[in-house]
Symmetry: C2
Subunit: 206 residues, 2 copies
């Protein structure tokens, strides 16, 4: 790599985007950030890591949700989080962590709307990994230990949550080629081919 | 390449998809089909090549358009093209030509919903090439000789026509990563990098 570059990887559940990110970071000799973002966000907010992991795929979806989760202030008493849902607080804390990691130099960041958060502020190479539904089901059963009977429902629900999360906090068209430098169908191209292709591209980038 | 493979390239106007297709075909030592599809369709239909070139980006958009262009039959007299607009006739003849070219062996085909036409019938590797609007304007002025004052309008109109054409005759979500094996932003990745990346991928494919 000629210059600092933040490689963001957005991915469909079960497409192997995380594995591609990890392997690519090793090939390029740069840090890979995924779970560490949760740990740092936990420290930043005071929430526990498990809570953040559950909360980060949610969005502020209704007035009732806001009413139920907000810290309200009355009169002259103002709080820093006035009007923010827990999801909003987690998103903003994660965005701060992602920016601080990006400022340290080249790295691979998986998920969490990093492409959107870092846009126009850091040099980014944005990747989207997808795969056909059946391939994702196979992988989710084999790699994540999800029961065969449940896997279709789990993937459909996760897709729905990710699309909503991205529509709310990130770019409007999640998965539209025009929002990324490269997109890869890992089901047809293969995980290792995808890694080698990205490595070659990024080494020639800038 | 290990086995026969039809590489289809869908592309935004001004993204250099055609140049990538031509160069890739040379690198892989396989035929490249673009204008030849028009010539063969002309022979197939009896329409002249210039007419086909204009017609192939259109769609059957309204009842009035149908009424204006259809060959109507009444009573027992039936025509082969009964109920078909000129656009439909051109599309169907092109589809026949594309299938016959694909049947001859590995090749690169640019545009014309070839990904959709060949789906599930031939082994395909489907690529989408895009680029940011400003980059496409630059290229359209430099390479296609479009006047600077006109280029934004020309690109917007061509985008609109291609999206409509693809919605009508091809896949519903033109440019959605999930419809392709790989998509590339040629404006950031570069034309020659894109060619090398695709060559390496396809040589390892199957």
């Amino acid at each position: 790599m000629k210059n600092n570059l933040i490689i963001t990887i957005s991915r469909e559940f079960g497409s192997g985007g995380r594995e591609i990110g990890e392997k690519l970071a090793i090939e390029l000799g740069i840090p890979y950030y995924d779970k560490i973002i949760i740990d740092k966000t936990a420290k930043e907010t005071g929430f526990c890591a498990e809570f953040i992991e559950k909360e980060e795929q949610k969005v502020t979806s209704s007035l009732l949700f806001n009413l139920a989760t907000n810290t309200y202030t009355f009169g002259n008493i103002m709080s820093q989080n006035y009007g923010q849902s827990l999801s909003d607080q987690v998103f903003q804390a994660e965005a701060k962590v992602i920016k601080s990691l990006a400022a340290e130099g080249s790295c691979v960041i998986v998920g969490r709307c990093a492409d959107y958060i870092l846009k126009n502020q850091f040099p980014c190479f944005n990747v989207f990994i997808c795969a056909d539904f059946d391939k994702r089901c196979e992988r989710a059963v084999a790699k994540y230990g999800i029961a065969k009977d449940d896997v279709k429902d789990v993937i459909k629900k996760t897709d729905k949550a990710r699309i909503r999360h991205n529509q709310f906090y990130g770019s409007q068209d999640w998965g539209d080629a025009r929002n990324y430098d490269v997109t890869i169908n890992s089901g047809t191209v293969g995980i290792d081919n995808a890694v080698q292709m990205l490595k070659a591209l990024i080494e020639n980038y800038n």
